[in-house]
């Protein structure tokens, strides 16, 4: 099958997103902001995108998808991030859970979950991190034990973004104790309104509530809600992380700050220092964009580019930080208002290189692959 989209289809998609975001922005229906993919939650906007076929783009048509390529999807996600649009309601489900269920889920699970992600009805949170595990995902302690017709889940997840809005959770749980801690892990889809699920807010340093703790006490999960093979969840998680890490959101979280920097550089046309700084940032963004494209192309070719996605995330997060730092070379950083572009981005920035794998973890992953090669 030929996966390559024509440049025209990407240009059309970009224009379509541009029109929609401009319309909503001009009508005051959203205010562009940094880190919108995590912080701007608007179910109505997600459903609007769904109605236009702009989420679940790579999913097969029979499950409500648009059967488009990852490269085309990249064009859409880039334009949404560029516009700082409120996309948090569908982002995780669309990016990660839909593809994971499509790759590994049973037909029954696919039919149940995927069309609801595609329509914007299922809102997902990620139950991966745990208080004792930190970045060491393989040491999760949340358990799922077999019971009549399914599983009983007990445990405690943390840093669960948008769990308070979510209809579903993706859950990584231990289904057996094995010698290697990477064995015996399984992936599940959980209903957030099931009995025994308890969500407690964690307010961040900006005073905003995106994070949560989630506790599971004897939560029943029906048997068909396992994703893939019981006990073999690790390989799937690693693969899934290339969807999580390799996207444009890993370089564009502070894009609104870059926009201000471009405008400020135009105003200060004699400032060679500032131009050089802007130039090196633009060069880095162009290369990051190229890497994003390569990751998307690799996915279209059926690969899970784990190392490339990790490198992209590492470089992208450093870029996101440096863009904010660059604005400090101008007067725009003085007394930044709490809700200014700079203020918002700065307060969001500590999370950039943590979520989806801390910088050090990414480096050690890359190093391990290097040692093997």
């Amino acid at each position: 099958m030929d996966h390559s989209p024509g440049p025209d289809s990407c240009a059309e998609l970009r224009a379509q997103v541009g029109e929609l975001t401009a319309e909503w922005r001009d009508a005051g229906r959203y205010v562009p902001r940094s880190d919108s993919w995590l912080r701007s939650f608007d179910l109505e906007f997600s459903k609007e995108l769904a109605a236009r076929g702009l989420i679940a783009m790579t999913y097969p048509k029979e499950f409500g998808g648009a059967a488009r390529t990852n490269v085309e999807r990249l064009a859409v996600t880039e334009e949404l991030l560029r516009a700082g649009a409120p996309v948090a309601a569908h982002w995780i489900g669309d990016r990660q859970i839909g593809p994971a269920v499509l790759r590994h889920g049973t037909r029954e699970l696919q039919e149940e979950i995927v069309p609801r992600i595609a329509s914007g009805d299922a809102v997902f949170c990620l139950g991966m991190s745990e208080p004792e595990a930190g970045s060491d995902l393989a040491s999760v302690k949340t358990t799922a034990e077999r019971t009549d017709g399914g599983w009983l889940v007990n445990g405690h997840k943390i840093w669960t973004t948008q769990a308070h809005h979510a209809t579903h959770a993706y859950l990584l749980a231990r289904t057996s104790r094995e010698e290697r801690k990477h064995d015996g892990l399984s992936e599940f889809v959980l209903d957030m309104d099931a009995e025994g699920v308890q969500v407690t807010p964690i307010v961040d340093l900006a005073g905003e509530h995106h994070f949560n703790e989630v506790r599971f006490e004897n939560v029943f999960v029906p048997a068909h809600r396992v994703i893939g093979e019981v006990g073999k969840g690790w390989k799937q998680v690693v693969e899934q992380l290339s969807f999580e890490r390799g996207g444009a959101e890993r370089s564009l979280s502070s894009y609104p700050v870059l926009v201000e920097l471009i405008a400020e550089s135009a105003r200060r046309h004699d400032d060679r220092e500032l131009h050089a700084l802007l130039g090196s940032l633009v060069a880095r963004l162009a290369v990051l964009r190229r890497l994003c494209f390569e990751v998307a192309s690799a996915m279209d070719a059926g690969q899970a580019p784990v190392q490339q996605a990790a490198a992209l995330k590492f470089l992208g997060n450093a870029f996101e930080h440096d863009v904010i730092e660059a604005l400090r070379r101008t007067d725009l950083c003085q007394d930044p208002a709490f809700d200014s572009t700079f203020g918002q981005a700065l307060l969001a920035s500590p999370a950039f290189s943590l979520r989806g794998g801390a910088a050090e973890v990414l480096l050690s992953l890359i190093a391990r692959q290097e040692a093997r090669s």
């Binding site: 440049p7 471009i262 802007l278 130039g279 060069a283 162009a286 290369v287 190229r290 480096l363 190093a367």
Partner: protein
Amino acid sequence: MSQFADELRSLVDDLAASGRPDLWGSLCDLGLPRVGIDEAKGGSGGSLDDLLVVVESLAGHGIGVPVVEASTADWVLGHGRELDGDLTAILLLDRAPDTASGALTAELTAVPWARDAARLVLCAPDSAPLLVDLRHTSVTVRDVENIAGEPRDTVILTDTPVLALDSAPSHDEVRERLALLWSAAVLGAARGAYKLTKTYVSEREQFGAPLLKIPAVAGNLARMRVQLVQAEAALALAREAEPLSGAVGIARITTAAAATEIAQIAHQLHGAMGITEEYPLHRLTRRLWSWRDAVASERRWAENLGRRAAGAGETGVWTRITATGR
């Protein structure tokens, strides 16, 4: 990537391993420096992509031969005349010199390989390139070396006759070709430094295990790898982009930044071993330090790109960035 990439790479690898004293002569005999120039003009055929592979592979072995300069000079010359066996040097000037009398008096600094060259091509903005006969009696060449030990001579012209090359490429085109080739050279040398370092930390034992077992060492090796990934992507971008679109500047900035970090980490991980003359690392790092700012410094490319970005505005920048790589 070139369809002959693997073949060209193994050809260069074999030559590098052969330890021949006159490597440049062997390269010329095989026609490698004239890859990317039409056979009808005395070149070896093939594409610029093929030439990039040759440059990158040679650099990966830390070999210092005038392949970038000579191939570009020959490419300029090949537009108007048939090539012979002599080496031609090339130099970019910031502004056109006064040659109204058909002769030139000037002191030119940092002319690559002038001492070995028979001719010199001078390229200045808004004027035809000039050809200088370096063996003319009015020419004096003073030997100077860059920090990699490569010839960057001073050429003194005293009323030396010059010939305008009318059908030759423009200054900007020559500058871009040189910049692209230097980007490939930097990427090659960076890859060479990476490979050498990886082997070293995998084999050298301290505290009872290979250095690579120390997490900080492994992390630094990964940083080198990440820089390589970035430099490779930048070069791929530049190869595929429209000429004069700014993509070569991006490759220059990216490979220069990668060179800086890779050289620094390579020495850190090698410890004192890396600073001996005997050990081959310096052949790569000294070249990285020289080549990263050849033609124009990283800072100048960045300033230029930043000024373009400021002029284009957000929409312009975004459109350019997202148009590449399709």
